[in-house]
């Protein structure tokens, strides 16, 4: 039985979602702990999220 590619897409979205969610959550924690470093944390968060997102997209489109 062939697995439809939409299932793969779903898996990718779940994985990327968990990853980005964790990054976002950790960033929130970090900001709560050190509000004065908000700018730096946000930049780092966006970059990390963008990297995961990139991999996610790559997998989505390669599939």
């Amino acid at each position: 039985m062939e697995i439809p590619s939409i299932v793969g897409a779903g898996l990718i979205v779940i994985g990327a979602g968990i990853g980005i969610g964790r990054i976002g959550g950790s960033a929130m924690d970090a900001i709560a702990r050190q509000p004065e470093a908000t700018g730096k944390i946000q930049t780092a968060m966006l970059i990390a999220a963008a990297l995961i997102e990139g991999i996610g997209f790559a997998a989505l489109f390669a599939g």
């Binding site: 700018g39 930049t43 966006l46 970059i47 963008a50 990139g54 991999i55 997209f57 790559a58 489109f61």
Partner: protein, 362 residues
Amino acid sequence: MRRKISLKPITLLLLLITFVSFGQEGHGNGEEKTDIKTEVKEYIQHHLQDSYDFSLTSYTNEAGEHKYVGFPLPVILWDNGLKVFSSSKFHHGEAVAEVAGNFYKIHHAKIYKVADAHGEIIEDAEHHATNEMPLDFSITKNVTMIMMVFLIMFFMFKRMASSYKKNGNMPKGTGRLLEPIVLYVRDEIAKPNIGEKHYKRYMSYLLTVFFFVWIVNLFGLTPIGMNVTNNIAVTFCLAIITYLITTFSGNKNYWKHIFWMPGVPWPMKIVLAPIELLGTFIKPFALMIRLYANITAGHIVMMSIIGMMFVFNNWIGSSLSFLLAFVLGVLELLVAALQAYIFTVLSALYFGMAVEEHDEAH
């Protein structure tokens, strides 16, 4: 603060116009409900594609004729010689154009060469057209838009630069609004990611790409309905420039980290080399896909929800859809800036990796 406040009414207005103009489209022949669904789907499909004429909107008049508001653009083909003609010859894709004895037809927003005036498109088993495709350098709607953004940016920033000269190193007018953004790109994007020593070389590219992507994304949200960045060719072009700059500015340390990763045992080095090498291609690839996918997805969702207004066609559903579309519109405004920012930050990060000098960090 002042900037934000003064921008708000404009964006609201733009959003409203967007809704109204998208709305007109569906309203044209909105008699039968099932038809609307397919029409919305088709419209979205159409909207996402490039087109050979600059049509702002279209409607069907009482006589049942489809009328387009806009103007034709030049088509430039290379097919055993340069062929330039107006896209009005295609009649919005409905007719076969004859140029110097050759016949061309638009099929799925691409120009194919056809045998005769009937314009038969021969398809294979998988519904791909097998007709010959001439090399197409047409000034399409998106190219027009790119040119417009080119002019806007050129004159905007040239004026800003000359205002500095006249005003004794202080900006004036739009420059006051743009200067903080330029400085943000320099101080928050270029300097921390590339480093104090090398960042100057990349400033021109980073600033240009940031403003280009941002402005183009914002134009995509206007009712003119051009979304340049949802064309893979455009994002590919931007990504490949980033890739080329990264590759050509890579120093010894950068290549060493790719082919002979320091600090790991030698079998790992052999394993890591192809992965790292692949990584250098994946990075710009992800850059390309990210921008493309975000903008495309944004437009699809946005227009689907606007389309839902006409599918529901009742007070509750439509107003809810409107509200949702409005919220999404605001979100898309954020995404427009965010994608420009991310593209720039990641480009800067890659340049930073390429020129990094000390061995510890990678």
